[in-house]
């Protein structure tokens, strides 16, 4: 290991880390928003819309993320979609994860007991009120563990962005490796770094889950 090399390249690595976090958070937020919209859209009684959304989910879950990135970044210009590498990366993360988030939210809605919805309707709540006040809170809380899990998966997918030259951490590290002939050290450092990142996120995630579960239990005890 050559620590002085790592030290010399520290500024570019820190910058790369910033780009990684940026892509991850914006891509994840975009994916969640899109996924939520898709999950809501699939509840409407519009068969063509349902089929289209189903096809969307199958396509984005059925093809590799790398392929989707190439399509966005390399093939985008031929249909008039010129994106910078970072924009393509963020959009790609958003589109890719939206398919998974849509399924997570759908499962969340599916887990709400029918009795609660019927009760809300028979008490005289409108459909909209039932959705906002009864279904949504329960569905979102039920979805928390899966959302955390997906965010962890997504944090690892950001590495793939380096292949389309998004200047994130992996890309910076590879540049360093190429310039200083320290491929092994760089990749070793990389492995350790991502492992710590993922461990940290999953620790925080299980804390959040524990709190949500505790909240649910306390609610259940009160009811």
């Amino acid at each position: 290991m050559s620590l002085d090399v790592l030290w010399r390249y520290l500024p570019s690595l820190v910058f790369g880390f910033g780009v990684t976090i940026f892509c991850w958070s914006v891509g994840g937020a975009l994916g969640m928003a899109l996924g939520f919209a898709i999950a809501l859209g699939r509840r409407l009684r519009l068969p063509p819309l349902r089929w289209a959304l189903r096809a969307y989910i199958e396509v984005f879950r059925g093809t590799p993320f790398l392929m989707q990135l190439f399509l966005l970044y390399a093939a985008g210009p031929s249909i008039g979609l010129k994106l910078s590498a970072t924009a393509a990366g963020v959009l790609g993360l958003g589109l890719y994860s939206s398919a998974y988030f849509a399924e997570i939210f759908r499962a969340g809605f599916g887990g709400v007991p029918v009795g609660q919805i019927e009760a809300a309707r028979s008490v005289g709540m409108s459909k909209f009120d039932t959705l906002i006040r009864v279904e949504l809170p329960a569905a979102l809380i039920a979805a928390v563990p899966s959302i955390v899990n997906m965010l962890i998966v997504l944090s690892k997918e950001t590495v793939v962005l380096s292949i389309i030259t998004v200047p994130e951490l992996m890309y910076q590290m590879q540049t360093m490796a190429a310039e200083t002939f320290t491929a092994f050290d760089a990749i070793f450092a990389m492995a350790v770094f991502y492992w710590i990142l993922v461990e940290a996120v999953s620790r925080v995630g299980s804390k959040v889950e524990a709190r949500v579960t505790a909240y649910l239990v306390s609610q259940g005890a009160r009811a």
Partner: protein, 218 residues
């Protein structure tokens, strides 16, 4: 969009799809063998084995596959061992998949009700018989749908082995894109192949799930 570009490179794409499927199959099978060992280690009574298994799963699930692949590719080169790219590719997929498969198997074993093991002990089954006749048949049945799911994930992840130079579906799509200057057609073509393979696999998964569920109610 010129669909004839896809049609003309159809032969290349089918060959490449074959490579993708072969690499993924090799990865899932070797991964299953390693995964079974890791699972056994995690369920063992010896604490150091348990820790070791846990550490393996944590590391291989926590480090992105791309980093793992490059690490394997460069790690052995560091010791003057020139591994062929295909070995690094299959090895990387297998090692990473093993961590996920170990967790699937562990989950499946835990899902077999405790009472069954106790009942088997009470009936005088030996340890090996309990495994062979009670635990394994049920655990394997439970683990089939998640294992097919893992296979789909691995097949998609195999697109990453293009970076070590394996001529699989993603790599060949890239080559077609750069040869024909038609990236849209090349990547749509490659994507359709992935989609066809994965939808077929998902179909098998749904079928397996239905058949296994039918066996459950008997």
């Amino acid at each position: 969009m010129k669909p004839e570009v896809i049609l003309r490179s159809f032969g290349y794409l089918t060959d490449a799809a074959g490579v993708t499927i072969a690499v993924s199959f090799a990865g899932i099978f070797i991964g299953f063998a390693i995964g079974a060992l890791i699972c056994a280690a995690r369920l063992s009574r010896r604490r150091w084995l348990k820790r070791l298994g846990g550490a393996y799963v944590s590391v291989f699930r926590g480090v992105p596959l791309l980093v793992q692949l490059l690490f394997i590719y460069y790690f052995l080169a560091e010791f003057g061992l020139d591994v062929p790219a295909i070995v690094a590719a299959v090895g990387g997929l297998a090692l990473s998949s093993a961590a996920y498969q170990a967790e699937i198997l562990r989950g499946a074993l835990n899902a077999v009700p405790r009472g069954q093991e106790e009942a088997a002990v009470a009936l005088g089954f030996t340890g090996l018989q309990i495994w062979r006749r009670v635990l394994l048949p049920q655990a394997l049945r439970i683990s089939v749908p998640p294992l097919i799911n893992e296979f789909i994930l691995l097949l998609k992840a195999s697109s990453l082995v293009s970076v070590v130079g394996i001529a699989e579906l993603t790599r060949v799509s890239m080559n077609i894109a750069s040869m024909t200057y038609r990236p849209l057609e090349a990547y749509v073509g490659g994507g359709l192949f992935y989609l066809a393979i994965n939808l077929t696999l998902a179909g098998f998964g749904a079928l397996a799930e239905r058949r296994l569920a039918a066996g459950d109610t008997r």
